[in-house]
Symmetry: C2
DNA sequence: ATATAAGATGTAAGCTCTTACATAGTCCGT
DNA sequence: ACGGACTATGTAAGAGCTTACATCTTATAT
């Protein structure tokens, strides 16, 4: 069933059918009715390839993500996909893992598939080495590239980010003001936003201490393995390091911190404070419940899509928008 | 840059270029070299639409999923997507929510986009009413439909499922044999596999009790809100129902159960047993850690993809494959 | 009534590939 | 040396849509 069949049955030309299909206004109401009627009587759907060939777009956005099973990234994908579909676009998903090469390959694949734009969900690896980001800049030469919680100074690359620096700065200061000075920063990602968080922590610490040496702890293991994270903290304690607070770069790490503190028989929050990040469902999973920073993921995604759609309509759009986060106080901090 | 440009620069016809591109063997080695050389000198990539038009496929699989931010489904998407890409396919993702209408619409959209097959990740709503599944059967008339943890008796629909019934049956029996008779079944989904789990629980209970009346508790609220789940259990207790064990249909519900038991000051597992399902990262999030059933999601996904790829090559494939689960014993059961 | 503008529809070219069929070139056996 | 059987390559016809441009209607102004 093609446009020819329809045009024949409706007694009009294929151009008219095409116009009806595309909502062009140059069709009389009567003709439109007739064509629409035939179309759904015969259950015709246009061939997406042919259409793509003619229009040179298929209303599809590529989503790149290191790991769709990551709690936070999965939510990002969810919001982005939802809002795209509400606007008549759909999404090709590419989960790349964390290797640069795989990411660059995925990017090319998406471009080959003729997506109209690319959204990078999660900021991993942005900013590691400057040259490592070349693949993004290259892609941006052909289509708009949106960075959710990432940043890159290149033409046609647009960022929507949470102000992780400030959130972390404020939270750290708050914990210090509650009387804890020996706060470990526990993180597992060197992504753009990961680095911003670390910087916020560090800046706040340095307002009251000389150095954060030894306190910044980078955990390399599995992002899901709470056991291993807990063990890491125990090992750390056994090296002789004193600490009575942990600020974690995400809720999973924070949960491990809670576990550690319990095993050490610290009272939380009287003897030991813990702060998480992302305000995910995990905050309710421990006793006491986790204080965590909400970085307003849904809002970020909403804006990101608005900007992308604007770009696709040829409008000028801001190439960097920043949203504040919010500290959600619960039981693990004073 | 089109195939014409390349053919001209290489001094051959477009047919030859096309043959090189498609790995046809009817090209001399010398010509192939020459063409390949030009292609990558000019960085040419074939137009996916034109190619799709000609070949009537774009090596793309549609993935349907109710909620990509669900812990379990997200993992499913992850595995499926990974294995597809390893085999040269990529994926269009549609998150539909749980409404039938939205699911049917998403299905049509995928078909319109000319995907080569559809994978339904998670079994929600399959089997609710028979007529509700018509949209799946219809889609299957046009392309293979794969059900991960779902089932439907229709042509060209293939299932790969975990044997949830048996897992749940065994686990329930085991808990009863440990001495607990008043076990609540705590669930929140009427999906196919949800129903199978329930049936397993029920069958096991009925080997030792007359009825499970009042013990099967269907929770309707948010799938992430542990507070609400805990409250639900408290309310239940306040109605006067006696229970000293909870078997939950997923780990989130089980975590709420742990929380409930702690708040009631039960000792776990001495006074109170809890079983989770999915063996997700959540099992480490409580004290004691959660006994949970592992339904081998990665294995399921691997087989599902193998079957799909087989079908796409025109092979005969089994339309139903079942894998056993495994009870992973931890601290919440005796 | 006539010229003109506006609106509706049709014609045909174009988008970039794939591939059946035609042709040209090679090699073999007799 | 010639017909036949290959192999390598080219030609041209699709594949199903969009859209600029041409044409035909109809309404409007004079």
């Amino acid at each position: 069933m093609t446009i020819y069949d329809i045009s024949e049955k409706a007694g009009v030309s294929i151009a008219t059918v095409s116009r009806v299909l595309n909502g062009s206004r140059k069709v009389s109401e009567k003709t439109r009715r007739k064509v629409l009627d035939i179309i759904d009587r015969y259950g015709y759907t246009p061939n997406a390839f042919a259409r793509g060939l003619g229009l040179n777009t298929m209303k599809t956005i590529g989503i790149m993500c290191a790991d769709s099973s990551d709690l936070y990234l999965a939510k990002g994908i969810y919001y982005v996909e939802e809002k795209l579909r509400e606007n008549g676009y759909d999404s090709i998903l590419c989960c790349t893992g964390y290797e640069l090469e795989a990411r660059a390959a995925a990017m090319n694949l998406l471009i080959t598939k003729k997506v109209d734009g690319i959204i990078m969900v999660g900021s991993n690896f942005i900013y590691e080495k400057d040259s490592d980001n070349q693949y993004i800049a290259n892609a941006a030469a052909q289509l708009p590239v949106m960075l959710l919680n990432g940043e890159l100074n290149a033409a046609n690359v647009y960022s929507v980010v949470s102000d992780d620096y400030t959130s972390m700065y404020d939270a750290t200061l708050q914990m210090m003001q509650s009387g804890i000075k020996d706060i470990v920063y526990f993180y597992n990602s060197t992504s753009y936003s990961g680095m911003r968080k670390l910087a916020g922590y560090r800046a706040a610490m340095l307002t009251q201490t000389d150095s954060t040496e030894g306190l910044e702890q980078f955990y390399r293991g599995s992002h899901e393995d709470i056991h291993a994270m807990t063990r890491y903290l125990k090992d750390l304690q056994e090296t002789g390091l004193q600490f009575h607070g942990i600020i974690a770069a995400d809720d999973t790490l924070a949960l491990a911190a809670v576990k550690y503190a319990r095993e050490m028989n610290y009272r939380i929050p009287e003897d030991f404070s813990i702060l998480g990040y992302n305000n995910s469902m995990l905050v309710n999973c421990c006793e006491p419940e986790l204080t965590s920073i909400d970085n307003k993921l849904e809002t970020l995604c909403q804006h990101l899509i608005t900007i992308l759609l604007g770009l696709l309509e040829g409008k000028e759009m801001p190439n960097r928008t920043v949203f504040p986060g919010e500290i959600i106080k619960r039981g693990t901090t004073r």
